[in-house]
Amino acid sequence: MMEAILPKSAVIESKPAPQKLVRSAATPNLAGMQAAAVRLPLCFVLTGVLSLLVSGAVLLVQPDLLAMYHYTPHFIAVTHLFVLGFICSIIMGAMYQLVPVTLETQLFSNTLVLFQFVAHVIGFVGMVWAFWNFNMAMVGVFGSVLTLGVGLFILNLACTLAKVKRWNTIKFGITSALIWLSATVAAGLFVTASNFWTSIAFQLLAAMHAHAHIGVIGVFVMMIVTVSYKLVPMFTLSELQSERRAWCSVALINVGLVGIFITVLFQEPFKPLFALVTISGFILYGWEMVAILHARNRRVLDWGMKYFLTSIGLLVPLAILALALTWSGLPVNAVTMQLESVYGLLGLFGLVGFAILGMLYKIVPFLVWFHSYSRHIGRAKVPALPDMYSVPLQVAGYWSFLAGLVGLSVATVWSHAAGIRWGGGLLMLSLAIFALNMGKMLTHFVRPKVEPFAKKPNLLEKTL
């Protein structure tokens, strides 16, 4: 009999043979199960990337959309293409993949994912078309289809969350995001319906702003904050440093956002107070991220992480802008109105968009790898995730995105059409680079690169 204990570390040797939490590995039809679970999140991701490219192309063709005030049919249509088509599709696809990972459980239903995907695509494409033509009746129709899909998404994730008995920051954050998602959709339908009412208790523009805030901060940013509490330690080989600090950050963002929604909707004077409460939640979040990174064991941060951390850094200018825009003494002039557009641009394109691009460099290679290589592991040589795309292209994409975002923001403040075109052009260059890298990743989906293991003659000597 041969027996060995590895590695020769004090930690292992001092422990007796493990008695608990043992799980036998082996699922004979593993490849089939994995393929089904991976294909649908990948469909969401590809839909998102396509929407991103189309919305970028529209801005490039019509840069004047950003040079004027943002309450126009075409601007709202492009915003919804970006928000629902790009951000929502990616976040939903990513959540189906990440929630089970972060909560260490299985997704409730893959069938619901399929139904939701169909409703989501019909809903958002129809809504963008209806907004473009400013046909509010059809916005309501397609919005209802989208709502059906959102309902399925919430149901699926809520049932997945219910399987996890213990409350922790991640469960708290994802539950919060799902509640905010319900509120956002309800508010969106309410705003649409109110177009047909003769008298309402609030201004439509204020309702639209309130709807946008709970959607972006409550759903997107909350999801980003929550999953990063698991993923940043996982990718940097670190640990959450303070569960209490993480919990408080989510709680403060929630409390602040309730106040923001009410004060923005009814245009009350306490906006700066609730903005400060939300910002204090983000300060705690930033503090925890710094602590996690400080304690990391992996010295070098990969570029996917750099994208993500840079996006989080954009919370600083966003917080300053938010406080400035809530200040009651701010003069109402053209520059102020353009600052509102920059606030939205930095929030959506900068914070959420950049974070998503960073996450995609983790999620897409993983999904493709899982589909193409999981059944080959141990049977043949398979590539590592970073081998599936070009790192120099990733770096070029990072800098062109950052330069484009800064250029676009400055040009938007001054309504400078040529500057907007240049900034938008740089952002498009970055997205084209990303699309190229996506193509490289997807070639592994179509044509997996599997090589036989190298023989080691010195170790495989045969004895008679």
């Binding site: 041969m2 590695p7 930690v11 493990p18 939490l21 590995a25 990972v101 064991n297 999981s374 045969k462």
Partner: protein
């Protein structure tokens, strides 16, 4: 009749061909293999993963099984994935740390 001499070196070198695709390092130098025992054609491996809920869980464990079954004399492989003791980067070998860019302890 031919048979391969099953040695520690052979088992470890074979397992080194299974990588964690996210970290880009093989599972032996990552310190994921806790122990193994060979008796009457059956190889039992006790291992862990870098994080509970790791989505690569089944793939890596299945990979360990597949690769060990290629060894002559091994008719059956049992892989047990355990979380106690939890994995920590200090369990990596010096080679693994260099490959993954992990600081020394």
């Amino acid at each position: 009749m031919t048979a391969t001499l099953l040695t520690d070196e052979l088992v470890l070198e074979t397992l080194r061909q299974v990588i964690d695709p996210e970290i880009g390092c093989n599972i032996v130098d990552l310190g994921l293999i806790y122990r193994y025992a060979f008796k009457a054609g059956k190889l039992t491996v006790t291992m862990t993963l870098t994080t509970p809920g790791c989505p690569m869980h089944d793939s890596i464990a299945e990979g360990v099984k597949n690769i060990l079954l290629t060894l002559d004399g091994v008719n059956e492989v049992e892989v047990e994935v355990v979380w106690d003791p939890p994995w920590h980067p200090s369990m990596m070998t010096e080679t693994g740390r260099t490959m993954a860019g992990v600081r020394s302890f």
